[in-house]
């Protein structure tokens, strides 16, 4: 049977190269979509873990601050703990490279003298310069090459509003031990780093090596006991797991979206295998008649599908790699800017990922082929040889499939109704129900279209109508397209709703006229502060009616949840307009912040931690947990993990004194914000600042928003390309298998143009059916994404708004794609000569 399989595959390939290649392309795109997302997901975590390894080397434990920084005085205490073989204080911050947009250095200040070995060990020749040259910094060769730096070059950097000049002293390959580590890593002397850019006495991390024979776990307990509430102790693995947790919802959603491409690709395989089997019923019947077992027939069909899967994987793996490369920037930007983790410099295709790609391709191809294969294997030889009309069966099944689709939808809704409150993943159940119901409803819709009145000409309308009688070829293609369109429309409405919500949120909360921060703030947060003279200049600006300031750090709740903690001046005029509360009076809430030291919690935090006004939230403070009354829940779309807002005085009491990192000026009525921006820039020439008008800031926020969804759009596009390939495939199947019908039309006097138009009509019918069901499914999917998935995974509430223009453009593009996809089959069909009229029944 194996020899027969080889010959059968060869014959199929020769008979329908285009069909086979389209099926391979479908699998390849599905594999590519899944693999690219997994490469990016893996690389995002790899970048974090790699950077941890590059910075901390073989340290067993790291002592980290609960509120961002640590008091240097903790260092001797750490050293004194029994079982600590060595400890290494580190100062860390992301500094921005001046004059190079988007360029930064992830500075690590370390005790270079004490680092005889490990990641901070420098060649002896470099060590002298490192200690003797002010601003000496070692950079990675990769980053030096990209930035065009040579040893001895001077680099101007800023952290907060402070500027400093560094000198490229050496090029050290920190990535040697961890290739995925950030190439922006840069090493300098800790004393110099604190003096030039930081604060004396403040460090960020103490790496600890356990003495021989001391278990890291036991040492961690001892350290925690010794340091109490002032610091936390974590292994490198725990830190990586924490980073994975922060990214989990983002990764899960991209993975789910990429799986839709596999589903669509599976439909293509299904359509192709079904067409191949319909053509080869007699061959299979003959094989069964001469003694081939059902298992052998099943093996024959699945063997062909496996070959398809293997070839699709072979093409899909490089495709996934390329797609991942193309999207590194967008995903890295999101990971850096929204999750404050390491950006992705390099993507890694590991053997495990290749195996995943192969498994996806094979599983998708085999799953797509399974049903038709079982169908063929179950049929007895007589039925196969009798050439029972496949279309009759397909027509009869349409009603049953519709019922099954509705049942799947009902089941998804039932799962959500029963478990939605307790289990976040239950939000996906109705989405899965919709994505199952949409393709299953396709045959019924096409059959309905086939019942429309007979048009008056043989042309596009006839093509539209006649598809109802060609369900076995057309329904899988229309179903695949419907799934892709549902996903596209659903995500478009979801993103549109999100954008609309964010815009309204910005309208409600961005009330000041001019916003002042520093280029490094986005990543460095509490380290990127505004110098007192900057604040003084802002306050002295003649047009300023009020100056609002903000301090922020990445902190932790008492139960270990990572949150953004912000302090604002609740007494500033108009402070109640700074937040949009989910419910309640903002003025009242601000008064509670000012007078009772209460906090506002963001909606995601309230949802995830079960907080509500009247309750209390414990945050890790400088000296231990601090309890705050919760005065309200506010809308926030910037921190998925959650955010807390309090008055600056309460902030200082809990987290210590410090300078603000942001300021917002409200100008006197009639003052031009752009003129104020120019004036402030002129007044503060020496400070590294970003001074932006309300309008500019809004634009930047929305640009980041768009960047976050860049990968989503790529995945949608891949799904649609697969679906368009499905349209071509189904029409090629029709053109090939219905040659007798086409020849009949030609014999009856139909012109080539008429046959061309019939096929164009069929393409449009597939496109139209996919569009109608896809839009209906997409609408439902959008409701699920907005009302169930987003609140469950991200925690924010969105209003639904339908971006009609975007949807209309997408609909036009889909119909155009369907028409374009039908051109080649239409051309092939139009060339059918009348003498092809065979002696077989139509």
């Amino acid at each position: 049977m194996r020899a027969y399989l080889a010959r059968a595959v060869g014959r199929e390939l020769r008979a329908g190269k285009a069909l086979f290649l389209l099926s391979v392309a479908g699998v390849a795109l599905g594999v590519g979509a899944v693999l690219s997302i997994q490469i990016l997901n893996g690389s995002a975590l790899g970048a974090f873990a790699g950077t941890v390894r590059a910075v901390s080397g073989d340290a067993d434990l790291s002592v980290l601050g609960w509120t961002g920084a640590l008091d240097e005085a903790l260092f001797p205490e750490v050293l004194a703990v029994r079982g600590v073989a060595a400890a290494r204080p580190l100062w860390r911050a992301d500094a921005v490279v001046e004059g190079r947009p988007g360029a930064s250095l992830e500075l690590v200040g370390a005790d270079l003298l004490g680092a005889a070995r490990g990641p901070s060990a420098l060649p002896p020749a470099a060590l002298e310069g490192a200690l003797g040259t002010p601003g000496w910094v070692a950079v990675t060769p990769a980053w030096a090459e990209e930035m065009g730096w040579r040893e001895g070059d001077r680099i101007d950097v800023s952290l907060g509003s402070r500027r400093a000049r560094l000198v490229v002293g050496a090029r050290v390959d920190f990535q040697a031990a961890a290739p995925l580590a950030s190439r922006r890593l840069a090493l300098m002397d800790i004393g110099q780093a604190q003096g030039l850019l930081g604060t004396r006495g403040r460090i960020h991390q103490i790496d600890v090596r356990a003495a021989p024979g001391v278990a890291p776990g036991a040492l961690a307990e001892r350290l925690s006991a010794a340091l109490g509430e002032r610091a936390r102790v974590a292994t490198p693995e725990q830190r990586t797991v924490e980073a994975g947790g922060l990214l989990s919802a983002f990764r899960l959603n991209l993975t789910a979206l990429s799986l839709v491409s596999v589903l669509v690709g599976g439909f293509l395989v299904y359509a192709s295998v079904r067409a191949s089997l319909a053509r080869r019923r007699e061959e299979l019947g003959m094989l069964r008649a001469v003694g081939a077992t059902r298992a052998q027939v099943l093996g024959l069909v699945l063997g062909e599908a496996a070959l398809l899967g293997i070839l699709g994987t072979a093409a899909g793996v490089p495709l996934g790699w390329l797609a991942a490369q193309a999207n590194v920037g967008a995903v890295s930007g999101t990971v850096r800017n929204l999750y404050l983790l390491e950006g992705i410099d390099r993507v890694a295709l590991t053997p495990a990922l290749v195996a995943l790609g192969a498994a996806t391709g094979l599983a998708g191809a085999l799953a797509g082929a399974l049903w038709p294969a079982l169908d063929a294997a179950r049929a007895d030889p007589r039925a196969l040889l009798a050439s029972i009309a496949v279309e009759e069966g397909a027509g009869a099944r349409a009603g049953r499939l519709l019922a099954a689709g509705l049942a799947a939808l009902a089941a998804g809704l039932a799962v959500y109704a029963l478990a939605g409150e307790r289990l976040a993943a239950a939000g996906f159940a109705p989405a899965v129900g919709i994505l199952v119901a949409v393709p299953l409803a396709t045959p019924a819709l096409l059959r309905g279209m086939g019942r429309a009145g007979l048009p008056h000409r043989l042309g596009i309308a006839y093509g539209l109508r006649s598809l109802g009688g060609r369900l076995s070829a057309s329904a899988p293609a229309a179903g695949a397209l419907a799934v892709a369109v549902a996903m596209l429309a659903g995500v478009t409405v979801m993103v549109g709703s999100f954008r609309d919500t964010v815009e309204r949120w910005l309208d409600a909360t961005l009330r000041a006229d001019v916003y002042v921060t520093t280029p490094s703030w986005r990543r460095a947060r509490s380290e990127a502060t505004l110098a007192p003279e900057v604040l003084a200049t802002l306050r002295a600006y003649p047009g300023a009616r009020s100056v609002d300031v903000l301090r922020q750090h990445t902190g932790y709740t008492a139960d270990g949840r990572r949150v953004q903690v912000s302090g604002v001046d609740a007494a500033v005029p108009g402070a109640d307009g700074r937040v949009a509360l989910v419910a309640g009076d903002a003025g009242e809430a601000m008064r509670a912040l000012r007078e009772r030291g209460a906090v506002l919690v963001s909606e995601p935090l309230a949802r995830k931690a079960g907080l509500a006004p009247g309750g209390a939230l414990a945050l890790r403070g400088r000296e231990g947990p601090v309890r705050f009354p919760v005065a309200g829940v506010y809308r926030d779309y910037g921190a998925e993990g959650g955010a807390v807002l309090m008055d600056l005085e309460a902030y200082a009491r809990a987290f210590g004194p410090g300078a603000p990192s942001n300021a917002a000026l409200t100008l006197a009525p009639g003052d031009d914000p752009e003129r104020a921006v120019a004036a402030l820039r002129a007044a503060l020439p020496g400070a590294a600042l970003q001074i932006r008008s309300n309008r500019t800031l809004r634009g930047e926020v929305l640009a980041i928003f768009e960047q976050t969804f860049a990968v989503t759009r790529l995945l949608e596009a891949m799904g649609l390309v697969i679906a368009a390939a499905g349209v071509t495939l189904s029409l090629l199947v029709l053109a090939r298998d219905r040659r007798a019908e086409l020849a009949l039309y030609r014999a009856l006097g139909a012109s080539r143009g008429q046959l061309f138009r019939v096929f164009l009509g069929r393409g449009l019918a597939v496109g139209g059916a996919g569009l109608v069901l896809g839009l209906a499914g997409g609408g439902a999917l959008a409701v699920v994404l907005v009302r169930a998935v987003n609140p469950a995974f991200f925690g924010w509430t969105l209003g639904i708004s339908v971006p009609l223009r975007a949807l209309a453009l997408e609909a036009l593009a889909i119909l155009a794609a369907a028409a374009a996809a039908s051109l080649y089959p239409a051309l092939a069909a139009s060339r059918t000569p009348a003498q092809e009229l065979s002696r077989d029944a139509l």
Binding site: R457, R470, Y745, R746, A747, G749, R752, L837, L842
Partner: protein
């Protein structure tokens, strides 16, 4: 009055195995006047169907000329030849070739659909033809529900819908039992006479060939005309 179909020294050669020329028709000449019925007989492979295809303009002769209503089909571009077939030729096939996704009446209407005829008169004509072949009550039925004889009657209605000057039938009874074959053939010739169409039909049956006004016998690619 010009003959409906004229064949002048028509030869048709196909490429056989290994590219060896395989002559199927050799210098065939004949005329089919309007309103006449001619049966083509001959052994399998003698070129009967090829002759029918040439007459319909579906195939082109290797040499010689096929004239439909005085116009040489070979001289016409494909689009013109197709139009000539659409407007003047009706075709009946051994295997009926009805479209399974269309009803009985809609199958009859396909030529009107191809030609873009006004739907009202075409539908009336289709109903009239179905009435005449005794299938008026089955007009809305699916064609799969019909017997073989009924299917061929529908195919006959389809062929006559646009009042062709030439009705070509390739073994129209070849897939039917004797009784049904006889009925269909009687109907075909009667309707053609009523419509004034010339008929050229291929048959293996002497009895059915005897129903025609004349017989053309193909033997080794050459045509012998009989009374």
């Amino acid at each position: 009055m010009a003959p409906v179909l004229t064949l002048r020294e028509v030869t048709r050669t196909f490429a056989g195995a290994g590219g060896v020329p395989l002559p199927v028709l050799r210098g065939v000449s004949a005329e089919l006047p309007a309103g006449r019925a001619v049966a083509i007989t001959g052994r399998s492979g003698s070129g009967k169907s090829t002759l029918l295809h040439l007459a319909a303009g579906i195939d082109a002769p290797t040499s010689g000329e096929v004239l439909l209503l005085g116009r040489s089909l070979g001289a016409l571009p494909d689009a013109e030849r197709t139009r000539a077939r659409r407007d003047h030729v009706g075709l009946v096939f051994q295997f009926f070739h009805l479209l399974p996704h269309l009803s009985v009446e809609d199958n009859v209407l396909v030529p009107a659909l191809v030609a873009g005829d006004p739907p009202g008169p075409a539908a009336a004509r289709a109903r009239d033809l179905l009435e005449r072949v005794g299938l008026a009550g089955r007009a809305r039925d699916a064609v799969q529900k019909l017997s073989g004889g009924e299917m061929q009657r529908v195919a006959l209605c389809r062929a006559l819908l646009r009042r062709p000057k030439l009705l070509l039938a390739d073994e129209p009874t070849g897939n039917l039992d004797e009784a049904n074959g006889q009925k269909v053939m009687d109907l075909l010739l009667a309707l053609a006479r009523e419509e004034g169409s010339a008929v050229l039909y291929v048959t293996h049956s002497r009895e059915l060939a005897a129903l025609a006004d004349a017989t053309w016998t193909l033997h080794a690619g050459r045509l012998e005309q009989g009374g």
